[in-house]
Amino acid sequence: MTQIRWRALQAVAGLGTRRPGRVYRWSIVAVCVLAVIVAPWVIGEGAQRFLSEAMLMLAMAQMWNLLAGYAGLVSMGQQVFVGLGAYGLFFASISLKVAPFWVLPLAPLLCAAVAAIVALFMFRLREAYFAIGTWVFSEVVSLLISKTERLGGERGVGLPTARLVDPRWLEPLTFWISAAIAVASVFGTYALLRSRVGLGLMTVRDNDVAAASIGVDVWRNRFIAFVIAAAGCGLAGAVSFTATLYVAPGFAFDPNWVVAMMIIVIIGGIGTLEGPILGVIIYFALRETLTVVFGLSAGWYLIGLGMVAIAAILFEPDGLWPLVRGRLGGDWLSVRREPPTPPRIAAATAAAAGVRSSPHGLGATPGDR
């Protein structure tokens, strides 16, 4: 066990041990942006499609992380917004006869609106009941659409308006948009958590009764998180199905969407912004290893991933990020609030260490005096 843990740590953390400086970080950002822009001319279509999928999955996982890791809402029905986003985009594009990318903003708007209404009912449920409630809602929507011939029924619909986009640009555009959504999901969540709403969300996650008793509007904070997560999943879902040019209830509302989000977040580290990034890398690395290298069929690789997720829950319930963050220079995207006047705190610490009132002996290291 220890050995496995150590090897995993070495493998993931072999990048460096020094804390990265500001210049270092920004140069990494610049290189990444440049890499994304030129990527479509460098890598093949298959690689583009694969990376697009991974980046959209990261966005969805980050949304699920916002819900479960920061708002205390474990949704098992997040796939409903993936599907609704896709359907919203398809029908908006088809009925308005415009290229799918132009109506992309409609997908998150539709999902946000649906989430805002659904929240009124779902928020009456807590914990496991909420999880089941969201799942049932997703299944109901899926069934309704598959019974509605005007929406393509069970067979689904294609995306003829994709022809309005120059075929040479279809793949690169999907790739860039996916990258933008992935980045937005990470930094958008970061900005949200750094805000006042974020502080409220974290108190709600930790203890909703205590949060209300210090004046936090628990319902409102959860509502904001739920609506944002719905919009994010809707946007990612819409782009995802634009890439396949076809949507059907069986794929759009597949519970495997939320299962993948969950596995990624749990493996990577729930309640951290870096966790889903790490999780998505591990998830896709595992999937490719199992399917391509070992040649496992779809069913078997899912079993493999499931076992990895169970192992993660058993041995590292906080995920892998807490294990490797020290090696990677601490939290890259910390949402911790630091007190504003370090000298005052330092003075207080010194005073406390002087009188030894602290049972933990904080600030007193061996050889201190």
Binding site: T203, A211, S213
Partner: protein, 243 residues
């Protein structure tokens, strides 16, 4: 009568069980009302009614002259009615500083530097300044209780509802807590449910005895604690019978 908090004829029952039966009292800032009574007498229920987590069947709660009605708990907290729980309820994954900062941000409605400064001040008052960066979930019990009070103070509470906050502490720790509460009394109205008599006597100006949801007695601590009625209620027999 124009107290900061005025409770009149408060009624609440759960089925056949009466938890509040015509509870009436009034409280001003700078005063501490002790509340005693056997388990199940309805003490915590009175707190729940005042804090808004349960709705009364009858009676009124007026705060700063305004009827609270069905105001939800978080809005009562923002107005200044804040409770400290019997089992401290910190936000375990946030630091001590963030716990208090959240209270200053939401309860007191401060933001930015104002919230940060207020949070630091409260930490200093509560003797927690040195532990600002510690995760609240890792604090020892007395510090958790301090933090519980700190959150209430940072929320700009006017009425503090203290629910058996001395429970589980060692004797010297109780002393420390009593000093802290006495200090808070100068600027707050306090209702304190407590089973430790000397702690209450040291701080409370009046003590109210609840029995089956009724306030059967209210008076000066010394009188109440030595009263025959209190002995009867706690011992479960009439004092005359043994005499």
């Amino acid at each position: 009568m124009s107290g900061l908090l005025e409770v009149a004829g408060l009624q609440k029952r759960f089925g056949a069980i009466v938890v509040a039966d015509d509870v009436t009292f009034s409280l001003d800032s700078g005063h501490c009302l002790g509340m005693i009574g056997p388990n199940g007498a309805g003490k915590s229920s009175v707190f729940n009614l005042i804090a808004g987590t349960i709705a009364p069947d009858g009676g009124t709660i007026r705060f700063e002259g305004q009827e609270l009605g069905r105001l939800p708990p978080h809005l009562r907290a923002r107005r200044g009615i804040v409770r400290a729980f019997q089992i401290p309820q910190p936000f375990p994954h946030l630091t001590v500083y963030e716990n208090v900062l959240a209270a200053a941000s939401f309860g007191a409605g401060r933001s930015g530097a104002g919230a940060a400064t207020a949070a630091l001040d409260v930490l200093a008052t509560m003797g927690l300044a040195a532990k600002a960066g510690v995760l609240a979930g890792q604090l020892p019990l007395l510090d958790r209780k301090r933090l519980e009070l700190g959150k209430a103070v940072a929320s700009c509470a006017k009425v503090l509802l203290l629910d058996e906050i001395a429970a589980g502490l060692t004797e010297p720790e109780v002393e420390e807590l009593v000093a802290l509460v006495r200090n808070l009394k100068t600027s707050h109205a306090i209702i304190w449910i407590e089973h430790i008599p000397h702690a209450l006597r040291a701080v409370a100006d009046r003590i109210m005895v609840l029995h089956f949801g009724r306030n059967v007695l209210e008076g000066r601590p010394a009188d109440v604690m030595t009263s025959r009625l209190v002995r009867e209620i706690y011992m479960g027999f009439r004092a005359d019978d043994v005499a």
